[in-house]
C-alpha cells in the first residue's frame, strides 16, 4: 500500500485511461460475427456424409438421452415395431404413422400438412361478399366456411384475414373457442381385412367378428359417425403367420381379435374429439 494518499486511485485511473486507447473488444454484429468453433454442439441440424446421404439412423439414442424429452422420431424400427412413445401421451397426436426414412421410395403425403394446402377460394369469396367483409361478423363467416370446406383450411383463414383486416391470430383465437370449428380435415380411418382362404385359415374370421362388433358395420361399410370405414384388403397370398389387417393401407402386424377390437374403439374415440391444428 503506497504511502501517498490517493496513489492507488490515481494509478487505477491511469490504467483505465490507457485501456481507453487500446483496441476495443466489441464485435459489431451483424457486420462481424463471432466465429463458432466447428465442434460447437448448439446447431440443430441433421448431418450428411460426403456422398450426400443423411447420416441419421433414428437409433433413438438422442431421444433417450435428452433430459427434457423433447426429441422424437417417427416410423417403425428394424424389428417392424412401432416407435415407442417417449414422454407424455398427449404430446403425440397421431400424425406420423410413417417415417420418411422407411418409406423406401414410396411417396406418401404427410397428412399433417393437409391443412396448409391451397384450396379454391371462390366459395369463400362469396361468403365474404354476403357478409360484407365485416370483421365483426367473424363467427358467421367462420361457420359458413366450415360448412363449405368441412374444416377451416389455413389458406381460407389467411384470405379472411387479408380481406377483412382482422388479425390472423384473432381469427384463430375466435375459431378455437368454439368446439364445433375444426382446423384439420376430419379423419376417415380405414381398417382393412383380407378375406382370402389363407387369411381365413389364419383367423381372420374372428378378427372380422370383433371388428363388426366394435364398429357396427361389416366390410364395405362406414361407422355411424363416418369416422371409420371397414374395407376389404388383399394380402396377395403373402400372409404367412397371421391374417392381413391394415390401417389406412399400412399393415398391422401381430393383430388379434382383442387388439383389433381395441383399435377400432380407439379410432372411434379419437374421431369423437375434434382435431386441432
Amino acid at each position: 500500500m503506497s504511502r501517498v494518499p490517493g496513489w492507488g486511485i490515481a494509478m487505477g485511473m491511469v490504467h483505465t485511461f490507457v485501456r481507453m486507447t487500446q483496441a476495443k473488444r466489441t464485435i459489431q454484429y451483424p457486420e462481424q460475427r463471432q466465429e463458432i468453433s466447428p465442434h460447437h454442439r448448439g446447431r440443430l441440424i441433421l448431418l450428411y456424409d460426403e456422398a450426400g446421404n443423411l447420416k441419421c439412423e433414428t437409433c433413438f439414442q438422442c431421444a433417450a438421452a435428452c433430459p427434457i424429452e423433447i426429441i422424437d422420431m417417427g416410423g417403425v424400427d428394424t424389428k417392424n415395431r412401432f416407435h415407442v412413445h417417449w414422454g407424455p401421451a398427449e404430446q403425440y397426436a397421431e400424425r406420423r404413422e410413417e417415417s420418411a426414412l422407411r418409406r423406401s421410395g414410396r411417396p406418401v403425403a404427410d397428412r399433417s400438412f393437409e391443412a396448409w394446402l391451397p384450396i379454391d377460394l371462390g366459395p369463400l369469396e362469396q361468403i365474404l361478399i354476403r357478409n360484407d367483409y365485416d370483421p365483426r361478423r367473424l363467427l358467421t363467416i367462420l361457420e359458413a366456411t366450415q360448412q363449405q370446406y368441412a374444416y377451416l383450411p389455413v389458406s381460407a383463414l389467411q384470405h379472411i384475414s387479408h380481406s377483412t383486416g382482422a388479425w390472423y391470430s384473432e381469427i384463430y383465437g375466435i375459431a378455437s373457442s368454439y368446439p364445433n370449428l375444426i382446423f384439420e380435415p376430419g379423419r376417415v380411418s380405414e381398417i382393412g381385412l383380407c378375406q382370402c382362404a389363407t387369411c381365413a385359415m389364419l383367423g381372420s374370421g374372428r378378427i372380422r367378428d370383433a371388428l363388426v362388433a366394435a364398429l357396427g358395420t361389416d366390410i364395405g361399410g362406414v361407422t355411424a359417425d363416418g369416422a371409420v370405414r371397414f374395407v376389404a384388403a388383399d394380402c396377395g397370398g403373402e400372409s404367412r403367420d397371421e391374417p392381413l389387417v391394415t390401417l389406412d393401407g399400412q399393415a398391422q402386424p401381430h393383430m388379434t381379435a382383442e387388439k383389433a377390437g381395441r383399435l377400432a374403439q380407439r379410432l372411434r374415440a379419437k374421431a369423437a374429439q375434434p382435431a386441432r391444428a
Binding site: M13, T16, R19, M20, K24, R25, T26, Q28
Partner: protein, 452 residues
C-alpha cells in the same frame, strides 16, 4: 384539391392579407408609432429585458449540454471498458442521448399509491431549477455573463444548496423505504460537503479580492501560470472532491447507488419527472466543472497570451470586414459566387470519382462547401472577436473537467455513507480551513515584503 392544397392555399392567402395589412399600417403611421413605443419600453427597462433573455438562454442551453454530457458519459465509460458504446443511432451514436431524452418523455408518468402527490411532483422541479439557476452567474466569455453580481459566488452556493431540498422531498414523498434511505443519504452527504465546497475557494476569494465570478476570471488573465490552481493546489483538490460529492457523482453516488438501493430517491420516478432528476444531475456536472474552471483554471482566459508573440513578429491581425463598403458586389458574390463555387467543386469531384453520379457529387460538394464555409467563418470569428475566443477556451476547459467526472465514474467504486461523512468532517473541512489560514498569512507576508 389535394391535402397540401387545402393547407397551403389558405396559408398563402393569409400571408398576402397580412402583408397588405402591414403595408397599410406602415403607410398610415400606426406601425412606426407602435415600434417606437416598444423600443422606448425596452430601452428604459433594459436590465429586466436582459435578465429575462439571459434566463431563457440558460434554460435553453442546459438541454443540449445535458445531451452532450450524457453522450460523453456513455461513450467514455464504454471506451474505458474496452467497448464502443452506442454507435448505431446517429453518426457515431451521437443521437443516442437525444433518443434517450425522448424516451424519457414517452414513458408513463404515474404517482405511486400512498405518495404525497404535490410534493412528489414538485421535487424534481426544484432540483432541476437549482442546477439551472446557478448558470446565471457563470461567465462564459468576456461580456457573456447572465448576471454579473458582485456576490456571484455566494449566490452560486446558496442556489446549488437548494437541490438537496428537492432530493429530500423526492425521497420522502415516494412511499418507499429505498427512496427514504436515498433521500436521507442525500441530505447527509450534501450538507456535509457544503462546508469544504464553500471553504476551499476562500483562498481564491482572498487572492482575487472579489466574490464576483467575472472578477475572479479577470484576475487570472495572462498566461497559464497566472491561474489560481498553481497558487492554491490544495484548495483545488479539496474543491474538486467536494464538487464530486455535491453533484452526487461516483465515488460519492450513494444517493442513487444502483447496486444497493435500486435508484435511491428516484426509485418511484418515471417519465419526465425522472427526466428532470436525470437532467439535473448532468447539468450539475457541467455547472461544477464550469465553476472549477472559473475559480481555478482561468475561466475564459486562454493559456497563452498571443499579443507578445504577435508583437514580436510584427504581425497584426485585423478581422474587420467592411461589408457596407462592398456594396452591390456583396449581392453578386452571394447570388452568383456561391453556386459557381459549388458547381466547380462538383465538377472536380465528379471528374475524379468516376463511380458517382452528378447528383451525388453535387450533394457532396454542397455539404463540403458548407463545412468549409462554416470553418472559415469560425476561424474568422475566433480571430476577430474576443467573445468567441473566450467561449471556446471556457468550453474546452469545462468539458475537460466533465470528462474527468465521467472518468472517475467509470473507474472508482463507491464509498460508504459513514466513510463519506468521516472524510468530509475529519479531513476536508480541516484541510480547507488550514488552507485559508495559510493563504491569509501568505498574503500578509507578501504585502509586508513588497510593501504593497
Amino acid at each position: 384539391m389535394t391535402l397540401a392544397g387545402k393547407i397551403l392555399i389558405p396559408l398563402l392567402i393569409l400571408v398576402a392579407l397580412l402583408t397588405v395589412l402591414l403595408l397599410v399600417l406602415w403607410e398610415v403611421g400606426v406601425l412606426p408609432a407602435l415600434i417606437g413605443v416598444v423600443a422606448d419600453v425596452v430601452t428604459s427597462n433594459i436590465d429586466i429585458i436582459r435578465f429575462l433573455l439571459a434566463a431563457t438562454a440558460i434554460l435553453l442551453f442546459t438541454i443540449p449540454t445535458a445531451f452532450v454530457i450524457i453522450f460523453m458519459e456513455l461513450k467514455v465509460i464504454a471506451f474505458l471498458a474496452s467497448r464502443i458504446g452506442p454507435n448505431r443511432t446517429g453518426p457515431w451514436g451521437t443521437l443516442a442521448s437525444v433518443v434517450a431524452g425522448f424516451k424519457v418523455l414517452a414513458k408513463e408518468d404515474y404517482t405511486p399509491t400512498g405518495a404525497d402527490a404535490a410534493v412528489f411532483t414538485i421535487a424534481p422541479i426544484i432540483t432541476y431549477l437549482a442546477s439551472v439557476l446557478t448558470l446565471l452567474v457563470i461567465p462564459f466569455a468576456p461580456g457573456l455573463v447572465g448576471l454579473d453580481m458582485n456576490i456571484g459566488l455566494l449566490y452560486f452556493f446558496a442556489v446549488s444548496g437548494l437541490s438537496v431540498v428537492g432530493l429530500m422531498m423526492g425521497g420522502w414523498s415516494s412511499f418507499n423505504k429505498y427512496s427514504l434511505l436515498g433521500g436521507l443519504r442525500a441530505a447527509a452527504q450534501i450538507v456535509s460537503y457544503e462546508l469544504p465546497l464553500v471553504l476551499a475557494p476562500v483562498g481564491v476569494i482572498m487572492l482575487a479580492g472579489t466574490l464576483s465570478l467575472n472578477g475572479i476570471v479577470q484576475h487570472q488573465a495572462g498566461w497559464f501560470w497566472d491561474w489560481y490552481v498553481f497558487q492554491q493546489p490544495l484548495a483545488f483538490v479539496v474543491f474538486f472532491i467536494a464538487a464530486t460529492a455535491e453533484g452526487n457523482r461516483t465515488p460519492f453516488d450513494l444517493t442513487e447507488a444502483d447496486s444497493e438501493i435500486v435508484a435511491g430517491f428516484a426509485t418511484e420516478y418515471s417519465g419526465m419527472r425522472f427526466g428532470f432528476f436525470f437532467f439535473a444531475e448532468y447539468v450539475g456536472v457541467f455547472v461544477l466543472s464550469a465553476l472549477t474552471t472559473v475559480l481555478f483554471f482561468g475561466g475564459w482566459n486562454s493559456p497563452i497570451d498571443p499579443r507578445p508573440i504577435l508583437d514580436f513578429f510584427h504581425v497584426t491581425i485585423n478581422g474587420a470586414i467592411d461589408l457596407a463598403g462592398m456594396g452591390i458586389w456583396l449581392l453578386w458574390a452571394v447570388v452568383l459566387g456561391v453556386p459557381l463555387v459549388v458547381f466547380l467543386m462538383t465538377l472536380v469531384i465528379w471528374t475524379f470519382k468516376s463511380g458517382w453520379s452528378f447528383v451525388k457529387s453535387l450533394v457532396v460538394a454542397f455539404v463540403l462547401f458548407n463545412v468549409i464555409a462554416a470553418a472559415v467563418v469560425l476561424i474568422w470569428a475566433f480571430v476577430s472577436f474576443e467573445v468567441v475566443v473566450g467561449l471556446f477556451w471556457f468550453m474546452v476547459k469545462a468539458f475537460t473537467f466533465a470528462f474527468v467526472f465521467v472518468w472517475m465514474r467509470g473507474t472508482l467504486p463507491r464509498v460508504r455513507i459513514d466513510q463519506l461523512m468521516g472524510f468530509a468532517w475529519k479531513w476536508l473541512v480541516e484541510i480547507s480551513l488550514v488552507n485559508a489560514f495559510v493563504t491569509a498569512g501568505a498574503i500578509l507576508v507578501v504585502q509586508q515584503v513588497t510593501g504593497r
